[in-house]
Symmetry: C2
Subunit: 107 residues, 2 copies
């Protein structure tokens, strides 16, 4: 049987981990897409990237506590732990994603 | 003559660089102290750390565009490029430092 995916508890979500995870444009895009479009499987959010790269970015997001990943059959579905992140760091995710969208619009 | 210290221009300050620089509690403390207490030399902001560690953290902050470092004689004085960061990423630095102070109070 496959090992269950590890997710940190809400209190173990660290500011270091969240900022490190979001210091990458691909990972910010994954989070922004999951918030805007709801739960998705890994492949859907990272069109055009190699499977190992997709998996790497999702692992960092999951280990930081930003996303929850759930295996269903052979697919893994991801969603942003938005309420928990908001409880832990009020306003932070919104502030970062606002800048991310602005930079994307400018590029 | 010593090489002048490199600082990125305002437009070259990247969200990736700023988030990476702030994904570390020592660097967040340096930035918070410089904002609260004004310009300081490296040693004053990092009491108890090894000189090479202090220098490493200030270099990352400088290269990300978060601080400006100015050599005067043998000392290097640092200040946060607060107005430039605010122009580039409105609200971001305040949102991150608010979380940093809250986590410090809790620990």
């Amino acid at each position: 049987m496959a090992r269950p995916l590890h997710h940190p508890g809400t209190d173990d979500i660290s500011l270091d981990g969240v900022l490190h995870a979001l210091a990458d444009p691909v990972r910010r895009s994954i989070v922004a897409t999951l918030i805007e479009e709801g739960e998705k499987n890994c492949a859907e959010t990272c069109d055009g990237l190699a499977p190992s790269t997709i998996s790497h970015h999702h692992r960092i997001l999951r280990e930081s506590g930003l996303i929850r990943s759930e295996k269903r059959g052979v697919a893994v579905f991801n969603s942003v732990r938005q309420a928990e992140i908001e409880t832990r760091f009020p306003g932070l995710l919104a502030a970062i994603l606002r800048q991310h969208r602005t930079s994307e619009d400018a590029s």
